[in-house]
């Protein structure tokens, strides 16, 4: 993963170099000039758990080989074993504290927004590869629910048994680093497919959260 980060960072640096070069050399005459794009994205997210992610990405062309982009999205769950283990611990305790059967669910959905630059190296191919890097913020929600006797129990009802700390309740917004790569494939007129991979690191307290996303975007150039 560290090597991947290095590669991504290198790619961004290279994009800067390429940017300097494009200031001195003209862009290939065959390259189509687009103002920007917008696409919807569906991904498989994997890291602590394998889940889904979806969102919207949009970008604007700064130069033919360089775009700025912003993305918004949601990852359904990034819960790690510490988080689910904590919920399991509380569930076990609840089963001793009261007679009803105890069930629980523990998820950590993430809503994120990030922005950065996307470098698109010049190519003669019909497809357009790219690398990108950016920063943003992710809001991680601790979504823990317990059932007693099969019925979901409110936090107020649970208050007699447990006081939840920030490890199992609430939400927090933390910085997000995102690095990625992909290839854009024009499919018809201005429509495109974007086969992409994203590495994300949420700088959460005590223990950061790493989430990988791989998926496809469907969008339009303009």
């Amino acid at each position: 993963m560290r090597s991947l980060l290095v590669l991504m960072s290198g790619a961004i640096v290279l994009s800067g170099v390429a940017d300097a070069q494009t200031r001195t050399t003209a862009a290939p005459p065959s390259r189509a000039v687009e103002k920007g794009y917008v696409e919807g994205v569906a991904q498989s997210a994997f890291g602590n758990v394998t889940t889904q992610s979806y969102g919207v990405e949009l970008g604007a062309t700064v130069r033919p080989d360089l775009q700025v982009f912003a993305e918004f999205g949601k990852i359904k769950d990034v819960a790690d074993t510490t988080f689910t283990g904590g919920a399991s611990t509380i569930a076990s305790a609840l089963s001793r504290l009261q007679p009803a059967a105890v069930g629980f669910s523990a998820r950590r959905p993430v809503i994120f927004v990030a922005g950065g630059v996307k470098y698109r190296p010049p190519t003669t191919l019909k497809v357009q590869p790219y690398v990108l890097g950016g920063f943003g913020f992710a809001t991680v929600k601790n979504d823990v629910a317990f059932t007693l006797g099969g019925s979901e129990t409110s936090a107020a009802a649970l208050a007699q048994y447990v006081t939840f700390g920030s490890d199992l309740s609430g939400q927090s917004t933390k910085p997000l680093l995102t690095l990625g790569a992909g290839v854009t494939v024009p499919i018809w007129q201005t429509l495109l497919l974007d086969f992409q991979y994203r590495f994300g690191r949420i700088f959460a307290d005590e223990q950061g959260i790493t989430v990988n996303r791989a998926g496809v975007g469907f969008g339009v150039r303009f």
Partner: protein, 424 residues
């Protein structure tokens, strides 16, 4: 280029906007006793389970201090420390005991012992755990009650009082102790010892309370002629409450002689039990003797009578009228032996000679062990006067007697000090 710049600026503004919203917001506030480090993740803590005392427990005052026990709580971070609170109201507005930061106990339970609480009152207690910067919920308040205090005053000795001379089995008596509170049945523990420290205790006995007063009589003889001490303590075993013991009362047992247990050592004389049944109509006033042969082995037992003891002819000799006998008692091997000795003649006083240290036994006409008895200086010897008992019942008159006096044997030839001459 304006569009591009707008895009970049927009992205930066978006980032700043999100940054401004960055925060940690638990759905429920965590009340923490120790402030958690900023942005640190706090743990979740369950409620401990109250174990003891049971709900609505009735606790005797004597069973204080009360111990509170909880089954340990569960925490997702850190190690639990516990807070215990005791209050006189269900809302815990009036706390009478608080213990915080109690380290979690081993074996799944955490225990604290309270200081003594005011008796005869109801209390409520609860506990909670703290860990990982989070204070867990308190257990539901549990009620327990402390019973009223029971106090028992020191019983008042009746006898024997300090300095008393007693028999070997005196009756120890106390006036029943007064008490406060719902006392249970009271018993009294009598201790007898050779030292006022009551260490070691020679005899101890616990007896049930009597009416108004309680007494104890030892079932075996106490050490004779030894300084002894006794005390009594009232005990409420139900409430495990005791009075303070009485002060140590000193007494001395004299070598009291139970006539009914004396082995009669003269062949023709009434038995011990028979003499014991004789009316005691005389009182010995003094016993003066000297076993020194040079002093004639003088034996003077002065006495008075409340009755008129008749005389009788000495073996039929009317001119020799006798009306009494001196008695001697010897403690030999822990057993009292005795019998009548010299006759007292009418008008001849109360002294007799020939009762020397080495003569009193062999010359007494005794049988068994007393025939070889030679009292040692300081040995306690018993003396009594009776109507004629020697050659009894042949010379029997009215069968009456005196008390018994026990005092050390004296022999000035063996170093005894006698103040002045023996009164004859």
């Amino acid at each position: 280029m304006r569009l591009h710049e707008l895009c970049i600026l927009g992205s930066i503004a978006l980032c700043l906007l999100v940054a401004a919203c960055s925060k940690s917001s638990p759905t429920k506030p965590t009340s923490t006793a120790a402030p958690a480090e900023a942005d640190a993740v706090t743990g979740s803590v369950t409620v401990p389970q109250a174990v003891s005392p049971a709900a609505n427990a009735q606790i005797r005052n004597v069973d204080q201090p009360v111990t509170l026990v909880v089954a340990n709580a569960v925490a997702t971070k850190g190690t639990n420390a516990y807070d215990f609170e005791v209050s006189t109201d269900t809302g815990f507005a009036t706390k009478v005991a608080t213990k915080t930061g109690v380290a979690e106990g081993a074996g799944g339970r955490t225990t604290i012992t309270l200081d003594r609480l005011t008796p005869n009152a109801d209390y409520y207690w609860h506990a909670r755990a703290q860990a990982g910067g989070t204070a867990g919920p308190f257990t539901a308040g549990r009620k327990f009650s402390i019973g009223p205090a029971v106090t028992i005053d020191t019983p008042v000795p009746i006898g024997p009082l300090s300095g008393a001379q007693t028999s070997a089995r005196p009756a120890f008596r106390v006036r029943n102790a007064t008490r406060q509170g719902p006392a249970g049945p009271i018993t009294y523990k009598f201790d007898i010892a050779t030292a006022s420290t009551f260490n070691p205790i020679l005899v101890t006995a616990t007896v049930a309370e009597g009416v108004n007063e309680t007494g104890f009589i030892p079932t075996s003889d106490l050490p004779i002629n030894a300084p002894l001490f006794w005390r009594a303590t009232a005990i409420d075993a139900t409430n495990a409450v005791s009075s303070a013991p009485t002060t140590a009362l000193n007494f001395t047992t004299s070598l009291a002689i139970d006539l009914s247990r004396v082995i009669q050592s003269y062949p023709a004389a009434p038995s011990g039990p028979q003499v014991a049944a004789w009316r005691q109509t005389a009182t010995i006033q003094s016993v003066e003797q000297d076993g020194n042969p040079a002093a004639d082995g003088i034996m003077c037992i002065a006495f008075t009578t409340s009755d008129n003891w008749p005389s009788t002819a000495f073996f039929g000799a009317e001119e020799v009228q006798v009306y009494a006998n001196q008695w001697y008692f010897a403690n030999i091997g822990g057993q009292w032996y005795g019998g009548p000795g010299e006759y007292l003649r009418v008008g001849r006083g109360f002294c007799k000679t020939g009762q020397g240290t080495n003569a009193i036994g062999p010359d007494g006409g005794w049988n068994t062990v007393m025939a070889s008895w030679a009292p040692k200086v300081g040995e306690l010897v018993g003396y009594m006067i009776s109507t004629p008992a020697r050659n009894w019942p042949g010379m029997r008159t009215i069968d009456e007697r005196s008390d018994i006096v026990v005092q050390p044997w004296r022999d000035t030839s063996l170093g005894s000090k006698v103040a002045g001459a023996v009164r004859r």
